[in-house]
Amino acid sequence: MIQFTHVYKSYAADHPVLQDINFSVAAGEFVFVTGPSGAGKSTLLKLVAGLEAPTRGRIDVNGQRLDQLTPRAKPYLRRAVGVILQDTHLLYDRNAIENVMLPLAVTGHSYAQSLSRARAALQKVGLAGKEKVNPMALSGGEQQRLAIARAIVNRPALLIADEPTANLDRETARKVMTVFRDFNQVGVTTLVATHDEELMAEFAHRVLIIEPGRMQDFPVRRSA
Protein backbone atom coordinates (compact mmCIF):
# COMPACT_ATOMS: atom_id res chain seq x y z
CA MET A 1 0.00 0.00 0.00
CA ILE A 2 2.80 2.43 0.97
CA GLN A 3 6.46 2.12 -0.06
CA PHE A 4 9.16 4.68 0.80
CA THR A 5 12.52 4.15 -0.94
CA HIS A 6 15.46 6.37 0.05
CA VAL A 7 13.20 9.34 0.67
CA TYR A 8 14.69 12.71 1.65
CA LYS A 9 12.81 15.86 2.49
CA SER A 10 14.14 19.27 3.41
CA TYR A 11 12.49 22.71 3.39
CA ALA A 12 15.86 24.48 3.37
CA ALA A 13 19.20 23.21 2.11
CA ASP A 14 20.76 23.17 5.57
CA HIS A 15 17.67 21.89 7.37
CA PRO A 16 16.84 18.31 6.43
CA VAL A 17 13.59 17.00 7.94
CA LEU A 18 13.67 13.44 6.67
CA GLN A 19 16.75 11.59 5.50
CA ASP A 20 16.95 8.25 3.72
CA ILE A 21 13.59 6.95 4.87
CA ASN A 22 12.79 3.40 3.80
CA PHE A 23 9.71 1.53 4.89
CA SER A 24 6.63 -0.17 3.58
CA VAL A 25 3.10 -0.66 4.87
CA ALA A 26 1.01 -3.52 3.56
CA ALA A 27 -2.69 -3.23 2.76
CA GLY A 28 -4.90 -3.63 5.83
CA GLU A 29 -2.18 -2.79 8.38
CA PHE A 30 -2.71 -0.49 11.38
CA VAL A 31 0.53 1.42 11.90
CA PHE A 32 1.51 4.12 14.39
CA VAL A 33 4.21 6.64 13.52
CA THR A 34 5.89 8.14 16.54
CA GLY A 35 8.94 10.14 17.53
CA PRO A 36 9.81 13.39 19.28
CA SER A 37 8.41 16.75 18.20
CA GLY A 38 10.10 18.05 15.06
CA ALA A 39 11.20 14.57 13.98
CA GLY A 40 9.16 14.85 10.80
CA LYS A 41 6.02 12.80 11.55
CA SER A 42 3.67 15.35 9.99
CA THR A 43 5.95 15.75 6.98
CA LEU A 44 5.99 11.99 6.52
CA LEU A 45 2.19 11.83 6.51
CA LYS A 46 1.96 14.78 4.09
CA LEU A 47 4.33 12.94 1.77
CA VAL A 48 2.08 9.88 1.89
CA ALA A 49 -0.97 11.99 1.09
CA GLY A 50 0.84 13.74 -1.77
CA LEU A 51 0.45 17.10 -0.02
CA GLU A 52 4.22 17.55 -0.13
CA ALA A 53 6.78 16.29 -2.62
CA PRO A 54 10.01 14.60 -1.49
CA THR A 55 13.30 16.33 -2.20
CA ARG A 56 14.68 13.00 -3.33
CA GLY A 57 13.61 9.37 -3.38
CA ARG A 58 10.61 7.38 -4.46
CA ILE A 59 7.19 7.05 -2.83
CA ASP A 60 4.54 4.57 -3.98
CA VAL A 61 1.03 4.81 -2.58
CA ASN A 62 -1.88 2.58 -3.53
CA GLY A 63 0.08 1.25 -6.52
CA GLN A 64 0.95 4.69 -7.87
CA ARG A 65 4.39 6.28 -8.00
CA LEU A 66 3.84 9.79 -6.62
CA ASP A 67 6.71 11.52 -8.43
CA GLN A 68 5.28 10.37 -11.75
CA LEU A 69 1.76 11.59 -11.01
CA THR A 70 0.65 14.56 -13.13
CA PRO A 71 -0.99 17.50 -11.30
CA ARG A 72 -4.29 16.37 -12.87
CA ALA A 73 -3.94 12.86 -11.44
CA LYS A 74 -3.08 13.93 -7.87
CA PRO A 75 -6.68 14.77 -6.82
CA TYR A 76 -7.74 11.24 -7.82
CA LEU A 77 -5.06 9.76 -5.54
CA ARG A 78 -6.27 11.97 -2.69
CA ARG A 79 -9.76 10.55 -3.08
CA ALA A 80 -8.32 7.13 -2.22
CA VAL A 81 -6.57 8.53 0.87
CA GLY A 82 -8.56 9.84 3.82
CA VAL A 83 -6.54 12.55 5.58
CA ILE A 84 -7.07 13.89 9.09
CA LEU A 85 -4.61 16.64 9.90
CA GLN A 86 -3.61 18.01 13.30
CA ASP A 87 -5.87 20.99 12.68
CA THR A 88 -9.20 19.41 11.73
CA HIS A 89 -9.80 21.93 8.90
CA LEU A 90 -13.53 21.88 9.43
CA LEU A 91 -15.63 24.52 7.69
CA TYR A 92 -17.47 26.62 10.22
CA ASP A 93 -19.82 28.27 7.73
CA ARG A 94 -21.72 25.00 7.32
CA ASN A 95 -23.11 22.35 9.62
CA ALA A 96 -21.67 18.93 10.47
CA ILE A 97 -23.37 16.95 7.72
CA GLU A 98 -22.49 19.56 5.08
CA ASN A 99 -18.84 19.21 6.12
CA VAL A 100 -19.05 15.45 5.60
CA MET A 101 -20.84 15.86 2.26
CA LEU A 102 -18.04 17.95 0.73
CA PRO A 103 -15.88 14.97 -0.44
CA LEU A 104 -18.99 13.44 -2.00
CA ALA A 105 -19.71 16.68 -3.89
CA VAL A 106 -16.13 16.55 -5.15
CA THR A 107 -16.69 13.06 -6.54
CA GLY A 108 -20.01 14.08 -8.12
CA HIS A 109 -22.50 12.18 -5.95
CA SER A 110 -26.09 13.34 -6.05
CA TYR A 111 -27.47 15.26 -3.09
CA ALA A 112 -29.63 12.31 -1.97
CA GLN A 113 -26.71 9.86 -2.18
CA SER A 114 -24.42 12.28 -0.38
CA LEU A 115 -26.94 12.83 2.38
CA SER A 116 -27.44 9.15 3.06
CA ARG A 117 -23.70 8.33 2.96
CA ALA A 118 -22.82 11.32 5.15
CA ARG A 119 -25.46 10.26 7.69
CA ALA A 120 -24.01 6.75 7.72
CA ALA A 121 -20.48 8.13 8.21
CA LEU A 122 -21.62 10.29 11.11
CA GLN A 123 -23.32 7.31 12.66
CA LYS A 124 -20.12 5.24 12.35
CA VAL A 125 -18.11 7.85 14.27
CA GLY A 126 -20.83 8.23 16.91
CA LEU A 127 -22.17 11.60 15.81
CA ALA A 128 -25.68 10.52 14.83
CA GLY A 129 -28.14 13.27 15.75
CA LYS A 130 -25.50 16.01 15.38
CA GLU A 131 -26.06 16.48 11.63
CA LYS A 132 -27.34 20.05 11.84
CA VAL A 133 -24.90 21.20 14.52
CA ASN A 134 -22.23 23.72 13.57
CA PRO A 135 -18.74 22.23 14.13
CA MET A 136 -17.94 25.16 16.40
CA ALA A 137 -20.57 23.87 18.84
CA LEU A 138 -18.93 20.42 19.01
CA SER A 139 -16.37 19.37 21.60
CA GLY A 140 -12.74 18.73 20.63
CA GLY A 141 -13.32 14.97 20.44
CA GLU A 142 -16.47 15.40 18.40
CA GLN A 143 -14.69 17.72 16.00
CA GLN A 144 -11.98 15.12 15.59
CA ARG A 145 -14.61 12.45 14.91
CA LEU A 146 -16.33 14.75 12.44
CA ALA A 147 -13.01 15.12 10.60
CA ILE A 148 -12.73 11.33 10.57
CA ALA A 149 -16.26 11.03 9.15
CA ARG A 150 -15.31 13.43 6.38
CA ALA A 151 -12.14 11.44 5.69
CA ILE A 152 -13.89 8.06 5.45
CA VAL A 153 -17.10 9.06 3.69
CA ASN A 154 -15.58 8.38 0.25
CA ARG A 155 -14.51 4.90 1.46
CA PRO A 156 -10.76 5.41 1.10
CA ALA A 157 -8.34 2.50 0.90
CA LEU A 158 -5.91 4.33 3.19
CA LEU A 159 -6.57 6.49 6.24
CA ILE A 160 -3.86 8.74 7.64
CA ALA A 161 -4.18 10.87 10.75
CA ASP A 162 -1.76 13.36 12.24
CA GLU A 163 -2.01 13.59 16.05
CA PRO A 164 -5.78 12.98 16.05
CA THR A 165 -5.88 12.64 19.83
CA ALA A 166 -3.74 15.65 20.75
CA ASN A 167 -5.60 17.93 23.19
CA LEU A 168 -8.18 15.23 23.95
CA ASP A 169 -8.75 13.65 27.35
CA ARG A 170 -7.92 9.96 27.81
CA GLU A 171 -11.48 8.67 27.40
CA THR A 172 -12.19 10.75 24.27
CA ALA A 173 -8.81 9.79 22.81
CA ARG A 174 -9.68 6.10 23.30
CA LYS A 175 -13.04 6.62 21.58
CA VAL A 176 -11.37 8.31 18.60
CA MET A 177 -8.77 5.55 18.37
CA THR A 178 -11.51 2.92 18.54
CA VAL A 179 -13.07 4.52 15.46
CA PHE A 180 -9.76 4.10 13.61
CA ARG A 181 -9.49 0.49 14.72
CA ASP A 182 -13.05 -0.21 13.54
CA PHE A 183 -12.22 1.09 10.08
CA ASN A 184 -8.99 -0.88 10.04
CA GLN A 185 -10.92 -4.03 10.91
CA VAL A 186 -12.97 -3.67 7.74
CA GLY A 187 -9.78 -3.50 5.65
CA VAL A 188 -8.81 0.18 5.62
CA THR A 189 -5.03 0.61 5.92
CA THR A 190 -4.46 3.05 8.77
CA LEU A 191 -1.43 5.21 9.53
CA VAL A 192 -1.61 7.36 12.66
CA ALA A 193 1.03 9.76 13.97
CA THR A 194 0.96 10.15 17.75
CA HIS A 195 3.02 10.71 20.89
CA ASP A 196 0.65 8.79 23.10
CA GLU A 197 2.47 5.64 24.24
CA GLU A 198 -0.52 4.29 26.16
CA LEU A 199 -2.71 4.39 23.07
CA MET A 200 0.04 2.81 21.01
CA ALA A 201 0.36 0.04 23.54
CA GLU A 202 -3.39 -0.52 23.48
CA PHE A 203 -4.11 -0.22 19.74
CA ALA A 204 -0.94 -0.65 17.73
CA HIS A 205 -0.21 -3.57 15.52
CA ARG A 206 3.02 -1.95 14.38
CA VAL A 207 4.97 1.16 15.38
CA LEU A 208 7.40 3.14 13.22
CA ILE A 209 9.78 5.40 15.16
CA ILE A 210 11.32 8.46 13.56
CA GLU A 211 14.35 10.07 15.17
CA PRO A 212 15.39 13.62 14.28
CA GLY A 213 18.34 14.06 11.93
CA ARG A 214 19.66 11.39 9.64
CA MET A 215 18.08 8.03 10.19
CA GLN A 216 20.46 5.16 10.10
CA ASP A 217 17.80 2.80 11.03
CA PHE A 218 14.03 2.86 10.83
CA PRO A 219 12.98 0.69 13.75
CA VAL A 220 9.82 -1.30 13.57
CA ARG A 221 8.25 -2.64 16.72
CA ARG A 222 5.43 -5.10 16.54
CA SER A 223 3.00 -5.51 19.36
CA ALA A 224 0.86 -8.49 19.96
Binding site: Y76, L91, L102, P103, A105, V106, G108, S110
Partner: protein, 303 residues
Amino acid sequence: MNRWLVQHRYAMTVVLRRLALQPFSFLTNLVVLALILTLPLLGASVLISVQPLAKEVRATPVLTIYMDPNASQAQGKEIEKRILDSGDPAISKVEFVRKEDALNQLKRNQAWRQALEVLEDNPLPDAIVVHLNTSEDNLAQIANALAKQWRTWDRVAMVQLDSIWVQRLEALLRLARIGLFLVTVVVALVVLSAVFNTVRMQALSQRDEIAVARLVGATESFVRRPFLYQGALTCALSCLLAFVLTEVTLGPLNDAIGSLAKTYNTLFRLEMPSASILLTYLFCACLLGALSARWSVTRNTRF
Protein backbone atom coordinates in the same frame (compact mmCIF):
# COMPACT_ATOMS: atom_id res chain seq x y z
CA MET B 1 -22.98 12.77 -17.55
CA ASN B 2 -25.08 12.71 -14.41
CA ARG B 3 -22.01 13.33 -12.22
CA TRP B 4 -21.02 16.18 -14.49
CA LEU B 5 -24.45 17.77 -14.05
CA VAL B 6 -24.36 17.17 -10.30
CA GLN B 7 -21.02 18.97 -10.03
CA HIS B 8 -22.28 21.94 -12.04
CA ARG B 9 -25.41 22.12 -9.91
CA TYR B 10 -23.24 21.98 -6.80
CA ALA B 11 -21.07 24.84 -8.14
CA MET B 12 -24.19 26.92 -8.79
CA THR B 13 -25.47 26.20 -5.27
CA VAL B 14 -22.11 27.27 -3.83
CA VAL B 15 -22.25 30.52 -5.79
CA LEU B 16 -25.78 31.34 -4.67
CA ARG B 17 -24.87 30.58 -1.05
CA ARG B 18 -21.78 32.80 -1.22
CA LEU B 19 -23.76 35.63 -2.79
CA ALA B 20 -26.54 35.24 -0.24
CA LEU B 21 -23.97 35.59 2.54
CA GLN B 22 -22.88 39.02 1.23
CA PRO B 23 -25.98 40.50 -0.41
CA PHE B 24 -25.03 44.16 0.00
CA SER B 25 -21.58 43.74 -1.45
CA PHE B 26 -23.00 41.71 -4.33
CA LEU B 27 -25.73 44.26 -5.12
CA THR B 28 -23.30 47.18 -4.99
CA ASN B 29 -21.01 45.38 -7.37
CA LEU B 30 -23.94 44.60 -9.63
CA VAL B 31 -25.09 48.21 -9.80
CA VAL B 32 -21.59 49.55 -10.50
CA LEU B 33 -21.08 47.05 -13.32
CA ALA B 34 -24.56 47.76 -14.69
CA LEU B 35 -23.85 51.51 -14.81
CA ILE B 36 -20.59 50.87 -16.63
CA LEU B 37 -22.24 48.45 -19.07
CA THR B 38 -24.96 51.03 -19.80
CA LEU B 39 -22.49 53.45 -21.42
CA PRO B 40 -21.78 51.45 -24.62
CA LEU B 41 -25.48 50.58 -24.85
CA LEU B 42 -26.46 54.25 -24.80
CA GLY B 43 -23.77 55.05 -27.37
CA ALA B 44 -24.97 52.20 -29.57
CA SER B 45 -28.57 53.41 -29.24
CA VAL B 46 -27.60 56.87 -30.50
CA LEU B 47 -25.52 55.51 -33.38
CA ILE B 48 -28.09 52.95 -34.44
CA SER B 49 -30.84 55.58 -34.39
CA VAL B 50 -28.87 58.23 -36.30
CA GLN B 51 -27.52 55.86 -38.96
CA PRO B 52 -30.82 55.43 -40.90
CA LEU B 53 -31.28 59.20 -40.82
CA ALA B 54 -27.96 59.70 -42.57
CA LYS B 55 -28.84 56.99 -45.10
CA GLU B 56 -32.28 58.44 -45.71
CA VAL B 57 -30.85 61.76 -46.74
CA ARG B 58 -29.34 61.65 -50.22
CA ALA B 59 -25.72 60.95 -49.57
CA THR B 60 -24.45 61.98 -53.02
CA PRO B 61 -23.19 65.54 -52.77
CA VAL B 62 -25.12 67.82 -55.09
CA LEU B 63 -24.38 71.37 -56.22
CA THR B 64 -27.34 73.39 -57.45
CA ILE B 65 -26.72 76.37 -59.75
CA TYR B 66 -29.61 78.88 -59.68
CA MET B 67 -29.75 81.07 -62.76
CA ASP B 68 -30.57 84.73 -62.73
CA PRO B 69 -34.44 84.97 -62.85
CA ASN B 70 -34.09 87.09 -65.97
CA ALA B 71 -31.80 84.60 -67.74
CA SER B 72 -33.27 82.69 -70.64
CA GLN B 73 -33.57 78.93 -70.80
CA ALA B 74 -30.93 78.89 -73.57
CA GLN B 75 -28.48 80.63 -71.27
CA GLY B 76 -29.16 77.99 -68.65
CA LYS B 77 -28.62 75.21 -71.20
CA GLU B 78 -25.37 76.89 -72.19
CA ILE B 79 -24.16 76.72 -68.57
CA GLU B 80 -25.13 73.02 -68.47
CA LYS B 81 -23.14 72.37 -71.68
CA ARG B 82 -20.18 74.31 -70.36
CA ILE B 83 -20.07 72.13 -67.24
CA LEU B 84 -20.40 68.93 -69.27
CA ASP B 85 -17.68 70.04 -71.69
CA SER B 86 -15.27 70.71 -68.84
CA GLY B 87 -15.05 66.90 -68.40
CA ASP B 88 -14.27 67.30 -64.70
CA PRO B 89 -13.84 63.76 -63.25
CA ALA B 90 -15.46 64.92 -59.98
CA ILE B 91 -18.76 65.45 -61.82
CA SER B 92 -20.92 62.36 -62.36
CA LYS B 93 -24.17 63.83 -63.72
CA VAL B 94 -25.62 67.19 -64.76
CA GLU B 95 -29.32 67.90 -65.16
CA PHE B 96 -31.13 71.02 -66.20
CA VAL B 97 -34.34 71.78 -64.23
CA ARG B 98 -36.69 74.21 -65.95
CA LYS B 99 -38.33 76.74 -63.67
CA GLU B 100 -41.78 75.47 -64.80
CA ASP B 101 -40.91 71.92 -63.76
CA ALA B 102 -39.60 73.19 -60.42
CA LEU B 103 -42.84 75.10 -59.85
CA ASN B 104 -44.95 72.04 -60.69
CA GLN B 105 -42.89 69.94 -58.34
CA LEU B 106 -43.36 72.46 -55.59
CA LYS B 107 -47.10 72.66 -56.21
CA ARG B 108 -47.41 68.96 -55.46
CA ASN B 109 -46.79 69.93 -51.87
CA GLN B 110 -50.13 70.96 -50.35
CA ALA B 111 -48.53 73.55 -48.07
CA TRP B 112 -46.77 75.31 -50.92
CA ARG B 113 -49.60 75.13 -53.41
CA GLN B 114 -51.79 77.76 -51.69
CA ALA B 115 -48.91 80.17 -51.31
CA LEU B 116 -47.82 79.78 -54.93
CA GLU B 117 -51.36 80.25 -56.28
CA VAL B 118 -51.53 83.82 -55.02
CA LEU B 119 -48.40 84.71 -57.00
CA GLU B 120 -48.90 86.00 -60.52
CA ASP B 121 -45.52 84.93 -61.92
CA ASN B 122 -43.26 81.97 -61.34
CA PRO B 123 -40.73 83.20 -58.78
CA LEU B 124 -38.40 80.23 -59.32
CA PRO B 125 -35.31 80.42 -61.54
CA ASP B 126 -34.01 77.72 -63.89
CA ALA B 127 -31.52 75.49 -62.15
CA ILE B 128 -28.71 73.12 -63.04
CA VAL B 129 -28.22 70.25 -60.62
CA VAL B 130 -24.67 68.86 -60.63
CA HIS B 131 -24.05 65.47 -58.97
CA LEU B 132 -20.53 64.82 -57.75
CA ASN B 133 -18.65 61.54 -57.66
CA THR B 134 -18.65 60.17 -54.09
CA SER B 135 -15.47 58.23 -54.86
CA GLU B 136 -13.49 61.46 -54.99
CA ASP B 137 -11.31 62.31 -51.99
CA ASN B 138 -11.73 65.75 -50.42
CA LEU B 139 -15.20 66.03 -51.87
CA ALA B 140 -16.05 69.00 -49.69
CA GLN B 141 -13.01 70.92 -50.96
CA ILE B 142 -13.72 70.03 -54.59
CA ALA B 143 -17.35 71.12 -54.22
CA ASN B 144 -16.29 74.39 -52.66
CA ALA B 145 -13.80 75.07 -55.48
CA LEU B 146 -16.41 74.33 -58.19
CA ALA B 147 -19.02 76.50 -56.47
CA LYS B 148 -16.51 79.35 -56.22
CA GLN B 149 -15.67 79.04 -59.92
CA TRP B 150 -19.28 78.83 -61.12
CA ARG B 151 -20.38 81.82 -59.02
CA THR B 152 -18.15 83.99 -61.23
CA TRP B 153 -19.96 82.88 -64.39
CA ASP B 154 -22.29 85.23 -66.15
CA ARG B 155 -26.05 84.88 -65.38
CA VAL B 156 -25.39 82.58 -62.39
CA ALA B 157 -27.25 83.98 -59.37
CA MET B 158 -26.31 81.46 -56.71
CA VAL B 159 -24.55 78.14 -56.22
CA GLN B 160 -25.73 75.98 -53.35
CA LEU B 161 -23.92 73.00 -51.84
CA ASP B 162 -26.77 70.68 -50.96
CA SER B 163 -25.47 67.49 -49.44
CA ILE B 164 -22.01 68.15 -48.17
CA TRP B 165 -23.36 68.14 -44.63
CA VAL B 166 -24.40 64.53 -45.08
CA GLN B 167 -20.81 63.67 -45.89
CA ARG B 168 -19.79 65.49 -42.75
CA LEU B 169 -22.46 63.64 -40.79
CA GLU B 170 -21.16 60.34 -42.11
CA ALA B 171 -17.63 61.32 -41.17
CA LEU B 172 -18.92 62.21 -37.71
CA LEU B 173 -20.69 58.87 -37.46
CA ARG B 174 -17.48 57.09 -38.44
CA LEU B 175 -15.74 59.00 -35.69
CA ALA B 176 -18.53 58.15 -33.26
CA ARG B 177 -18.25 54.46 -34.17
CA ILE B 178 -14.53 54.53 -33.38
CA GLY B 179 -15.35 56.40 -30.17
CA LEU B 180 -17.94 53.78 -29.24
CA PHE B 181 -15.43 51.00 -29.92
CA LEU B 182 -12.90 52.69 -27.64
CA VAL B 183 -15.54 53.20 -24.93
CA THR B 184 -16.47 49.50 -25.23
CA VAL B 185 -12.82 48.49 -24.85
CA VAL B 186 -12.48 50.69 -21.75
CA VAL B 187 -15.72 49.27 -20.32
CA ALA B 188 -14.47 45.72 -21.00
CA LEU B 189 -11.25 46.52 -19.12
CA VAL B 190 -13.20 48.00 -16.20
CA VAL B 191 -15.49 44.94 -16.05
CA LEU B 192 -12.44 42.68 -16.27
CA SER B 193 -10.68 44.38 -13.37
CA ALA B 194 -13.86 44.65 -11.28
CA VAL B 195 -14.66 40.94 -11.63
CA PHE B 196 -10.99 40.03 -11.15
CA ASN B 197 -10.86 41.94 -7.89
CA THR B 198 -14.20 40.64 -6.60
CA VAL B 199 -13.18 37.05 -7.30
CA ARG B 200 -9.77 37.66 -5.72
CA MET B 201 -11.43 38.83 -2.49
CA GLN B 202 -13.87 35.93 -2.62
CA ALA B 203 -11.08 33.40 -3.24
CA LEU B 204 -9.09 34.74 -0.29
CA SER B 205 -12.12 34.56 1.98
CA GLN B 206 -12.78 30.97 0.79
CA ARG B 207 -9.19 29.92 1.43
CA ASP B 208 -10.14 27.26 4.01
CA GLU B 209 -12.85 25.79 1.84
CA ILE B 210 -10.50 25.57 -1.13
CA ALA B 211 -7.77 23.94 0.99
CA VAL B 212 -10.22 21.36 2.37
CA ALA B 213 -11.66 20.66 -1.08
CA ARG B 214 -8.15 19.99 -2.42
CA LEU B 215 -7.41 17.82 0.62
CA VAL B 216 -10.39 15.57 -0.14
CA GLY B 217 -9.47 15.27 -3.83
CA ALA B 218 -11.04 18.22 -5.61
CA THR B 219 -9.66 18.90 -9.07
CA GLU B 220 -8.69 22.45 -10.01
CA SER B 221 -11.77 22.59 -12.24
CA PHE B 222 -13.93 21.82 -9.22
CA VAL B 223 -12.25 24.61 -7.24
CA ARG B 224 -12.50 27.13 -10.09
CA ARG B 225 -16.02 26.33 -11.29
CA PRO B 226 -18.01 28.29 -8.66
CA PHE B 227 -15.85 31.36 -9.28
CA LEU B 228 -16.38 31.09 -13.04
CA TYR B 229 -20.11 30.88 -12.47
CA GLN B 230 -19.93 33.82 -10.09
CA GLY B 231 -18.14 35.97 -12.68
CA ALA B 232 -20.54 34.99 -15.46
CA LEU B 233 -23.63 35.37 -13.27
CA THR B 234 -22.56 38.77 -11.96
CA CYS B 235 -21.95 40.03 -15.50
CA ALA B 236 -25.19 38.52 -16.82
CA LEU B 237 -27.28 40.16 -14.11
CA SER B 238 -25.38 43.46 -14.51
CA CYS B 239 -26.00 43.31 -18.24
CA LEU B 240 -29.74 42.73 -17.76
CA LEU B 241 -29.84 45.63 -15.32
CA ALA B 242 -27.93 47.72 -17.88
CA PHE B 243 -30.66 46.95 -20.46
CA VAL B 244 -33.28 48.25 -18.03
CA LEU B 245 -31.19 51.33 -17.20
CA THR B 246 -30.70 52.09 -20.92
CA GLU B 247 -34.43 51.77 -21.60
CA VAL B 248 -35.19 54.01 -18.62
CA THR B 249 -32.62 56.61 -19.71
CA LEU B 250 -33.90 56.65 -23.30
CA GLY B 251 -37.40 57.62 -22.07
CA PRO B 252 -36.68 61.24 -20.99
CA LEU B 253 -34.08 61.61 -23.76
CA ASN B 254 -36.70 60.69 -26.35
CA ASP B 255 -39.17 63.17 -24.86
CA ALA B 256 -36.65 65.98 -25.30
CA ILE B 257 -35.53 64.84 -28.77
CA GLY B 258 -39.14 64.33 -29.84
CA SER B 259 -40.02 67.94 -28.95
CA LEU B 260 -36.98 69.18 -30.89
CA ALA B 261 -37.80 66.97 -33.90
CA LYS B 262 -41.38 68.30 -33.95
CA THR B 263 -40.09 71.81 -34.56
CA TYR B 264 -38.46 70.42 -37.76
CA ASN B 265 -41.74 68.72 -38.63
CA THR B 266 -40.16 65.29 -38.36
CA LEU B 267 -40.07 62.32 -36.08
CA PHE B 268 -36.95 61.03 -34.41
CA ARG B 269 -36.52 58.54 -31.57
CA LEU B 270 -33.53 56.88 -29.97
CA GLU B 271 -34.13 53.14 -30.17
CA MET B 272 -32.65 50.31 -28.08
CA PRO B 273 -30.28 48.13 -30.12
CA SER B 274 -31.92 45.06 -31.68
CA ALA B 275 -32.49 41.84 -29.71
CA SER B 276 -29.64 40.09 -31.53
CA ILE B 277 -27.20 42.89 -30.57
CA LEU B 278 -28.43 42.77 -26.96
CA LEU B 279 -28.03 38.98 -26.83
CA THR B 280 -24.51 39.23 -28.27
CA TYR B 281 -23.69 41.92 -25.70
CA LEU B 282 -25.05 39.71 -22.90
CA PHE B 283 -23.06 36.70 -24.14
CA CYS B 284 -19.84 38.75 -24.43
CA ALA B 285 -20.34 40.18 -20.93
CA CYS B 286 -20.85 36.67 -19.48
CA LEU B 287 -17.80 35.37 -21.30
CA LEU B 288 -15.72 38.32 -20.11
CA GLY B 289 -16.90 37.74 -16.52
CA ALA B 290 -16.09 34.03 -16.64
CA LEU B 291 -12.66 34.56 -18.22
CA SER B 292 -11.77 37.28 -15.75
CA ALA B 293 -12.88 35.08 -12.85
CA ARG B 294 -10.84 32.17 -14.18
CA TRP B 295 -7.76 34.34 -14.49
CA SER B 296 -8.26 35.70 -10.98
CA VAL B 297 -8.96 32.37 -9.29
CA THR B 298 -6.00 30.71 -11.03
CA ARG B 299 -3.69 33.47 -9.83
CA ASN B 300 -5.09 33.79 -6.32
CA THR B 301 -5.52 30.19 -5.20
CA ARG B 302 -1.91 29.07 -5.45
CA PHE B 303 -1.59 28.00 -1.87
